[in-house]
């Protein structure tokens, strides 16, 4: 008994370092990304006094004197320009006009020679409830606006969820595009990968080895190298256009790069091994004599294929398709290098929000959408590949 316990203890000691490491540097980052997407403290941090007063306001009438005094004191107390900039950006995104209003207000408040009596005397706009509503709504530390905005939804003045106006609705287009490109790539991979795996499984010896090596070599080659190769080949004066022109098939160079065609070609090449290998591994377990048996019973080859081989290999096709689709929706490098502005997928937009405009809330919210989609599809894949082959 004690030997069993000490063995378990040893196993736990061996597991612990990686477990701690991954919880710290894998699970926690994902959580902090998620919390970024719902956290909304840019305004609350700077306006603690207003946060006490504003909840008592009826959200309709003119701003009361205590509200104005509280906001004035809060703004006077701000000494961090960057935090002020974050707050103004946050407010301006809820209600345009805040940028000019705030800079006018803060400079008036900063003038010691001429202290303003209230905010309305600085700018008439402080009379309007809309601006106060924007502040009141921004004071809650949690928000769903980033998550809603990730799918082009927003809340109106009454707090109901509604579609954002068309000029702000960019994310849904990008989500649809991401899934569409991933679906096209999956389809292309299935169309090439299934027959390829079938031929490979039907061969023996060096021919089979050659076909498998042709799949493994690109799989092991750096993704960046493969993308660079397609970049070079697809150029206007690249090998493919040169070849087609030399053969006289086209007159001028085809536009192959910085567009959808190039992205699909390059991604299909990169992901094809993930389709071929699962299908191949299922096909080699199917007994060789099934097709001749179907034929001997009078089935047309096409019918035998549709009724025998295709259903038996379904698991491989499904695993391969899921694997390709999951990888494709998260792709960043290939669309970034081969695609044009109209081919950028959700990863590029996340990277843009994170590194380009430091909008961590939106980056996190779109990240949550991508993460949830990936994990859902992966759980289907894991269930599918956990099924014992040949159990049916």
């Amino acid at each position: 008994m004690s030997a069993g316990l000490s063995r378990t203890g040893r196993s736990l000691i061996l597991l612990a370092p990686l477990l701690v490491f991954l919880i710290g540097f894998f699970v926690w980052p994902l959580f902090s990304m998620m919390s970024q997407s719902v956290s909304d403290t840019a305004v609350l941090r700077l306006l603690p006094r207003s946060a006490e007063v504003l909840p008592g306001w009826d959200r309709k009438s003119r701003p009361t004197m205590p509200m104005q005094t509280a906001l004035m004191e809060d703004l006077k107390a701000v000494d961090d320009d960057q935090a002020l900039g974050d707050m103004v950006r946050r407010l301006n995104s809820a209600r345009s006009g805040f940028r000019t209003l705030m800079s006018k207000t803060t400079s008036a408040l900063g003038d010691p020679a001429n202290p303003p009596a209230d905010l309305v005397s600085i700018d008439k706009r402080w009379e309007k409830p809309e601006f106060w509503l924007a502040i009141a709504d921004a004071l809650s530390p949690l928000t769903d606006r980033n998550l809603l905005a990730a799918v082009d939804l927003g809340r109106n003045a009454a707090g109901d969820i509604e579609h954002l106006p068309a000029d702000q609705s960019v994310n849904r287009v990008i989500l649809v595009r991401t899934f569409w490109i991933a679906a096209l790539v999956t389809f292309a991979c299935a169309c090439i990968g299934f027959p390829y795996a079938m031929i490979a499984a039907s061969l023996h010896g060096w021919k089979r080895d050659l076909m498998l090596a042709a799949v493994l070599l690109p799989l092991w080659t750096s993704l960046l190298v493969r993308t660079a190769a397609w970049f070079i080949l697809l150029q206007e004066r690249g090998l493919i256009n040169d070849l087609l022109q030399t053969l006289g098939l086209i007159d001028g160079p085809l536009p192959l790069i910085f567009n959808r065609t190039g992205v699909i070609i390059a991604m299909t090449h990169v992901l094809l091994p993930f389709m071929v290998l699962p299908i191949y591994s299922v096909l080699i377990t199917i007994p060789k004599n099934l097709m001749p048996a179907a034929a001997s019973l009078g089935a047309h080859p096409l019918r035998a294929f549709m009724r025998v081989l295709l259903p038996l290999s379904f698991r491989g096709v499904a695993s391969g398709s899921l694997l390709v689709f999951i990888s494709a929706i998260g792709y960043y490098i290939t669309p970034a290098l081969i695609g044009g502005p109209g081919d950028q997928m959700i990863s590029s937009i996340i990277a843009f929000y994170a590194t380009g405009s430091a909008n961590w809330g939106m980056a996190g919210a779109l990240g949550v959408v991508l993460l949830v989609a990936t994990l859902l599809l992966y759980s289907v894949y894991a269930r599918l590949s956990a099924e014992e082959p040949g159990r049916r």
């Binding site: 070599l217 080659t221 190769a229 004066r237 990863s347």
Partner: protein
């Protein structure tokens, strides 16, 4: 007969599609021209010179080696230890833990990158080698776990029990029996971890500063900004390294297969 011809044509064309792009760019590494097009005017090694002596590229290569080595060590030690721990069937949530260990392979790199940047900024680890090595280890460790778990599954437990019954201490059994038998798996895991680190771009974009530019990162930005045949030279090195790594993995696998 036409069926056979169709199959042959299809297979040949697909092999061409898979392999030709990788082969087609190799000669361009030796061009003397500044543009990446055929025909090649004359042969030259100037782009390899550029790669090894131009400051940006040389530093990128050195950084890749430092970060790759750090990642390989960390991922191999953590991954091997954890795989040994996972052998014990009495561990609670064994399946969940295993899934957690493999999940970094699945989560999109950009998503992990955003979270990692937020977190490492909190620790003051952005723009540091430690930060990049940690990030690379997270995505490299699943390969070590898969590889070592596979090798351990192939060990006949009776061999270990025999050693134990002959009076070997648990440490001696581990050192003299288990570890040598698992070694091919550990080695191929280490090689895959190094390869993962070498090829990693997205996390590097998020967590590395200008001083930790790796070769892959440098290739990414030079494809984006000013493409030159130095890319083809770097690709040449990568493909040559891939073939060597591939041979090492195949050899260690066949060693493993012979042992069984």
């Amino acid at each position: 007969m036409p069926m056979k011809l169709t199959k042959f044509t299809f297979a040949s064309l697909t092999i061409l599609f898979l392999v030709a792009p990788l082969i087609a760019i190799l000669p361009l590494a030796f061009t003397s021209s500044v543009i990446l097009t055929y025909p090649i005017p004359s042969w030259s090694l100037r782009w390899f010179e550029e790669l090894f002596f131009a400051d940006a590229w040389r530093r990128a290569i050195v950084n890749s080696l430092i970060i790759g080595t750090g990642t390989t060590l960390l991922a191999t030690v953590l991954g091997t230890a954890a795989s040994l721990g996972l052998r014990n069937r009495l561990i609670f949530f064994r399946g969940t833990i295993r899934t957690l260990f493999l999940l970094p392979m699945v989560v999109p790199a950009v998503v992990l990158g955003v979270g990692m940047q937020v977190l490492l900024a909190g620790f003051g680890l952005t723009n540091s080698y430690a930060g990049v090595i940690i990030a690379h280890t997270v995505v490299a460790v699943p390969f070590v776990v898969v590889s070592v778990t596979g090798a351990l599954a192939g060990i006949d437990e009776r061999v270990e029990l025999a050693a134990q019954s002959l009076g070997a201490s648990p440490t001696a059994v581990f050192r003299r029996v288990t570890l040598p038998l698992a070694m091919p798996g550990v080695a191929s895991g280490a090689v895959l971890a190094f390869a993962t680190s070498l090829d990693e771009v997205v996390l590097t974009l998020f967590v590395a500063g200008p001083n930790q530019r790796t070769l892959a990162r440098q290739m990414f930005s030079s494809i984006r900004e000013n493409i030159s045949p130095a890319i083809a030279a770097a690709a040449f090195l990568f493909i040559a390294a891939t073939i060597i790594i591939g041979l090492v993995v195949v050899l260690s696998r066949s060693m493993l297969a012979k042992r069984r």
